[in-house]
Amino acid sequence: MTEPLIFEISRPGRCAASLPELDVPEARLPQAFLRNDLPLPEVSEPDLVRHYVRLSHLNHAVDTGFYPLGSCTMKYNPKINEVISRLEGFAAVHPYQPAHMVQGCLYVMYVLQGLLQEISGFAAISLQPAAGAHGEFTGMLMVRAYHRDRGDLGRTKVLVPDSAHGTNPASTAMCGFEVVEIRSDARGNVDLEDLKAHCDEHVAGMMLTNPNTLGLFDENILEIAKIVHGCGGLLYGDGANLNAIVGVVRPADLGFDIMHFNLHKTFSTPHGGGGPGAGPVGVTKALADYLPGPIVRVEIPDEESLDEGLYFYPFMPPKSIGRVKAFYGNFGVLVRACAYILHLGIEGLRQVAEHAVLNANYLRVRLQDTYPLPYKRTCMHEFVLSGKIPGAEGVRTIDIAKRLMDFGFHPPTIYFPLIVPEALMIEPTETESLETLDAFADAMLQIAEEARTQPELLHNAPHTTPLRRLDDVRAAREPKLRWQP
């Protein structure tokens, strides 16, 4: 099952679009600027549609099967949110229309800011960042601005645990900070001694994910905050794992000064094969003035003009780090997340976290006797196993992952976090049923058995997918990055 490239089904003269007639006189074209050649494909509409429909069939997706990809929160994406975001009154609005013409959009942003504040306990929110990493970058620039604003120019280091997601050090570096790695301890928490050893007047702050990428809630979180704050640093929270604690605990109450939300994880906006997402940033009061704008504010009419209603308007915080992208943010993503939150309410969100954690622990218990579990604790919304199955030494995590495809499952995240050898990071999410979890666990157990008895079945996996195992090395060694005739 493979599909030719769109260029390969191209034939001269075909076109899938029907354009309007020109209804004005022609103007002279500036000859010197004209291009001669535009090697785009030429296909008819029927062939175009078939091409993409067939391609779609080659994808695994949440809507086709279980997708326990750790750290990604591949939960079900409600269809009503797709309907809402496509309402013409949202989809056909230009970002430069004056505020009085876009009160509906500004209302949605204002409401979402408020909901995220309440969920997180932060004092202010900017909805601008377009993804989690973008939020991190935004947050770390604020850390930078905060210290500089206070004349505190010597803070050049940012502490990042060894379990951190790659975006954390990368975002930190993009802000000109030096990344200092902090060890994890035997329980998977931040090693407090190592932390203390690195905390000094050069520390701008620390980036921390809690629950962390091992799926563990750092038991010393309040202590960590105290230590970081104690040396004058700020505590940044990577909110990628908020699905574990939404409605259960407020990140600001844990001592975080800044945090980004991944709306495409916790609040179920679809991942789209890699985006778009949205990574709003929340901050404490002390940092609110540094947020990137525009932020939406409301004017509440005074007694006399009450019938005019509320008036929403965009606002740039006084010491803002500036804008981090054009326009307002990924509005189409924001509106979906806002709908999701209003649909569920806080009680529903609490159930989300509770069932995400319930599902993960259930799977953990079903698998931990077969696959090594490096940190033997109650997990949060995900947990990390090792693929080093006792008695199956020749088998690697990649083989287990590929074999899972034959059972119709998307593999877990693999080889991350880096501190677990041969890591298998499993996040079932709350939208999966007990039957699905059991089927997955059964498959994992069967695969462990196969690993011991018929390892070649795993080495050669997958067997039933549209393509067999792909050659990554060749792709990197002889890069072919575009079609050429």
Binding site: Y328, H355, T378, L481
Partner: protein
């Protein structure tokens, strides 16, 4: 809760297996004093009420389809063929993650490979990634890339004042932590005269095509001069314009970036859009973002994988070319479907329609008293009109006639008070254009 399938019996069985009594016990690691706080929250809404709520909010927006709209300035109202939403609404595409597991992600991977190929074709470059958050961040990352290509040794960026103002602002934000200075804000300069600022300290020269004022600046000789100085040339391009005009690659550009929204993505109040990013093969290892490459499977069948990921944060961490992870894949898919739908002839035809309509309007406006078309260079679908009154005032008056007027250039360029940037696309019929002209006459 329609999205949580657990029955009471399921929950009980699972807790039993885990060996705890209550779900709350699973949160024992969380400090008790912050657990289960009181939230102030609106009650949940059922699906029907939810839809009514947002329908009401959306009705509180004036949507451009109910108006004659001449507003562009970086976000363009082009018609989106129905096939685009048909494809991006397929949940095999929109509910998938980044295609880390290629054997079960060929749909996304091949579509991205095709997207990369089409962006290369459009820009005249050799490699393209998929994708950046938007045009603004693509420009910013291009600047950072140039800085990195030149080993962080050159600390000056010469950026045209007629690069989109929000792209310029975003770039300034992005380089805050780097040792980079951005120069070139003098609006009396054009691409050619700015060139003189490019020197041996310069990492890159950034120009826009068409520039923010809609003009086609003369790019001849730029590459030679920039390369002479050892710097890179970054061009911010409009993808629809590239259907008609020479590719930046033909002029010798090193990096071509831009806002991909006009390619099949709705206005959506400014996002999600996508930044496209293309460069020469020699710089591929310095590029940010996702790259899909061709390879074969164990049976020798052609297939596609994410590749050269040693550039990326999940491998390289603090030494990565960028921190970007989630990007705008679905918007890139929309752009690919759009480009495939219009294709070679369609995109050219569309660009010509925009060109002719914009010029028709310019000609008609130039006949009016009290107005002046100040654009003298060749332009594409936007041009600048000096109005007899402040643009905000003009636009309120136009709005009374169901017209959404152009962009107020005074917002960004103080010396351009009363200057309106007017945009015309294939969505504006001659009737609409004539109506605008009549309205301008009345308003003056």
């Amino acid at each position: 809760m329609p999205y949580i399938p657990h029955s009471d019996a399921d929950r009980a069985a699972m807790l039993d297996a885990i060996g705890v009594k209550h779900i709350k016990n699973l949160f024992a690691d969380v400090p008790a004093k912050v657990l289960y706080p009181k939230f102030k929250f609106p009650p949940p809404l059922d699906e029907q009420t939810l839809l009514e709520h947002f329908r009401f909010a959306s009705d509180n927006n004036a949507n451009v389809n109910d108006y004659m709209c001449f507003l562009g300035a970086g976000a363009y109202r082009h018609f989106i063929p129905s096939v685009v939403d048909h494809i991006v609404s397929r949940s095999e595409f929109y509910t998938a993650y980044t295609p880390y597991q290629p054997e079960i992600s060929q749909g996304t991977l091949q579509a991205i490979f095709e997207y990369q190929s089409m962006i290369c074709a459009l820009t005249g470059m050799e490699v393209a990634n998929a994708s950046h958050y938007d045009g603004a961040t693509a420009v910013a990352e291009a600047v950072v890339m140039a800085y990195n290509v030149l080993r962080k040794k050159r600390n000056k960026v010469v950026m045209s004042p007629f690069v989109h103002p929000e792209y310029r602002a975003t770039t300034r934000t992005y380089v805050q932590g780097l040792d980079l200075e951005i120069v070139g804000d003098d609006t009396r300069q054009d691409a050619q005269s700015l060139l003189s600022l490019v020197d041996e300290e310069t990492a890159c020269f950034v120009t826009q095509f068409p520039n923010f004022l809609g003009e086609l600046e003369d790019f001849r000789g730029i590459a030679e001069h920039v390369h002479d100085k050892g710097a890179l040339w970054v061009v911010v391009a409009d993808p629809i314009a590239l259907g008609l005009f020479k590719a930046p690659g033909d002029y010798g550009a090193d990096i071509v970036v831009g806002e991909g929204q006009p390619l099949g993505n709705p206005l959506s109040f400014g996002g999600p859009y996508l930044g496209f990013f293309a460069t020469r093969e020699q710089y591929v290892h310095k590029m940010a973002g996702r790259l899909v490459g061709e390879t074969v499977d164990a049976e020798g069948k052609r297939g596609f994988v994410l590749t050269l990921s040693a550039r990326e944060q999940h491998i390289r961490r603090e030494r990565a070319t960028s921190n970007i992870c989630s990007n705008e894949a679905l918007n890139a898919l929309a752009a690919a479907v759009y480009l495939a739908a219009l294709g070679k002839c369609g995109l050219r035809q569309l660009a010509e329609i925009c060109y002719h309509k914009a010029h028709y309007l310019a000609r008609e406006i130039s006949k009016l008293r009290h107005y002046e078309v100040v654009t003298t260079k060749p332009f594409f679908r936007e041009f600048v009109v000096r109005c007899p009154k402040p643009v905000a005032e003009m636009n309120e008056a136009l709005l009374e006639r169901d017209i959404i007027g152009g962009y107020d250039l005074g917002r960004d360029y103080p010396e351009m008070a009363n200057h309106m940037l007017v945009c015309v696309t294939e969505r504006n019929s001659r009737l609409e254009i004539d109506t605008l002209v009549r309205a301008l006459k009345e308003v003056s």
